[in-house]
Structure formats: C-alpha cells, structure tokens
Amino acid sequence: MNMDRRKFLKAAGLTTLVGLGGKGIFELVKPGTVEAEMAHEGHGHGGHEEEAGPKVRWAMLIDVMALNKEKVEKIVHTCHYLHNVPNWGDPKNEIKWIWEDEYEHVFPDSYNEYNHILEGMPFLLMCNHCDNPPCVRVCPVQATFKRPDGLVAQDYHRCIGCRFCMAACPYGSRSFNWLDPRVQLEKEMAQGRKLNKRFPTRMRGVVEKCNFCVERLAEGKQPGCVEAAPDVMFFGNLADPNSNVRKILKERISLRRKLELGTKPSVFYLI
C-alpha cells in the first residue's frame, strides 16, 4: 500500500481516537447497543435463573435425626451396588458416591464447643448438585455440566482426568479413578459381590461422583438411597411450592454445607 506521511498520521490519529473512546463512538452511532451486548454476555453464568425459574429443581433432604448406623450402611451399600462403585478399602484409591462423616467435619464453620447435641450423629455426604457449581466452571472440556433440572452431571466419555473439578469442589464429592475399577470389582465379585447389570462401570483416569441416580429418574423411579431408606431421605422438586421437599423444608430446620461459598447446594440436612 502506498501512503504518504500526512495520510498515515491522519489514519493513526483517527484510530487512536476510536481506541480511546471506542464505546463513546459506538454510542454516537447506535446508542444503547453496547450495554445490551454486555448485559447479554454476562447473563447465563452460574445458573440459578431466579426470574424465569426452572420448572424442575431436584433436591435431596436427609433427616439426620432419623439416621442410624444400620441405615447408613444400607444406603451406602445400595448406592454403591447400583452404580458398581468398587470398594478399594484404601483411602488413597477410594471412590465415594455417598459416605459418612462427623458433624465437626461436615459443618466445620458452625461447630459449637458449648453444644454437643449433633456430635456423634451420622451425617451422609454426597454431591450437593449445586445451583452454582464450581466444578462445572473449571472443567476445561465440559465433561461435567449442569442440566436444566439442576443435576450436575458427569460425562465420562468426555472426562480427560485433569481433576480440576476435584480441586474446585468444596465438598470433596469427587473421586478419581487412579486404578482400573474393574480390577477391584472382579476381585470383589470373586468374593460374592453382585454387579448391577444395568449400569456401566468407569474406566481408569476419569472422575466420578453421585449422579442423583439420573438413570433411575429417567425411568420415573426415585434415587436408590431414597428407596433404601424412605424415612430418612426425601427427594423432590424444589421449584414446585407444593412438592414433598418444600413442605418438609417449611416445617423443619435444615442445614446446608458451606453456604457462605455461594455454591447454593441442594442437599439439605434436617435437624
């Protein structure tokens, strides 16, 4: 391109002006468009559409007062059978979908040294299926994603095993398959363990977690843990004001884990 000094300076000056006051120039030409674009881009992050509101928002309620060791064992066993979760017997390789912990670990922020009522009570932990799930935000391949009904799903086909989601999850709900789960499952099968023939296993190198029994919900069934202990676990639609879970939440005092982080968990502990 042929350009003399005078033309070049003109063009450079004009470009600088646009650069300095870019938004202002757009504002002169088409008022209001920039704001509209920016608002549009900012929308859709972090879920929880308060105004429009989803029709279905699944939530789990766990009645801590009705829970005991036997029920915990039954619930954990049912879940791990249904999803072919191996029992490595070693915390290093452990795969957790639903598990038990103590009050002071579950609610470290609300521990009260003058009140010991909740100490020693069994607390069942699982994926909280947050409304604002940090694991979804950090996943580089969108292997984990939030469904319109609020479930935080995990696509094992897409997971590359980077474990960002495990670092992001404040609840420790995710486990990594360091070893081939089938090796352990086959060992357990030799000792009499049964496999759920309707559900796949996982492979080495993927992250897994509780899926709120999405495969059972699709068939119109309740999650396995609810079926195992219907007097302890309640599952229902949080978006429906007349649902079972909303009725219970209206009457009972409930706790949620680490609310201050803004993840909006949908697992409630009834006390």
């Binding site: 994603f145 799903a153 086959e186 099968m189 559900f199 492979m203 699709a218």
Partner: protein
C-alpha cells in the same frame, strides 16, 4: 555409473525386503466376518429388525451410537423415535445388548477384523457375560 554391480544388488535386496509382506500374504486374505444374530432374544422376534434398517445399522452405527450417547447423557432425552415412528429406549447396555447378547460373536468379530478398538467396552459391558 560407479559401482554398478553393488547398486543393483542393493536395489534387488531392498525390493525383496519391501515386497516380502505383500507376496507372503498374497491370496490369504481373511474372510469377511459375518456377525452372528443367533441369540434367543433375536430368535423370538417376529420381524428380525434392529431400531433402524440393517443397511443403516451396518454403515452408520458408530455415528448413531454417538448421537444416542449425547442425547441420553447430555440432553437427558432417553427416547429415540425411529423412522417408522416406533419409540426406543436409548441405552447401549439395556437396549442394544438385550437383543445382541452375544458381544463376542456380534460386536467383536467385525471390530477385530477391521482392527478397530472402540472404547465403549472400557465402561459398558455385556450384561449377559460372566466377566466384566
């Protein structure tokens, strides 16, 4: 040309080595496999038909299963409506394998022949088999 003799001998040796696999395997092509449809579930069918027609299933099942996976898992849509308007439950382990309960004779035969190793079976398994 310098060293004509040596060059020609070298070329001849090279040609022998290069052509050996072609000559050695000539005429011994493995026969095209025929996946077995001989299962109790398929025998019991009045009309032996998969979710779509056979030609479509043979040529497109890889893409088709990929679409099924994304529909079921990512879109949460578990029903597939085929070209005849029939509804089918989307599931590899619970729908496909119900009829094709002979993974070794049905899936593996062609996959081994074609030298493909689909990663389906890293997680999914034959619900009728005794091993994972």
């Amino acid at each position: 040309m310098y060293d004509t003799g040596k060059v020609i001998i070298g070329l001849a040796i090279f040609a022998c080595i290069f052509l050996f696999p072609f000559l050695y395997n000539h005429g011994t092509a493995a026969p095209q496999p025929k996946p077995s449809l001989d299962t109790p579930a398929i025998k019991a069918l009045a009309e032996k038909k998969c979710v779509e027609d056979t030609h479509f299933m043979i040529t497109t099942h890889m893409q088709f299963l990929n679409d099924w996976r994304d529909q079921a898992l990512r879109e949460g849509n578990r029903w597939y409506v085929n070209r005849e308007g029939k509804k089918v439950w989307i599931s590899l382990q619970n729908t496909c394998m119900k009829c094709h309960s002979n993974k070794k004779e049905f899936c593996d035969k062609c996959h081994n022949y074609a030298g493909v190793d689909p990663y389906c079976w890293d997680c999914h398994y034959d619900p009728n088999g005794s091993k994972l």
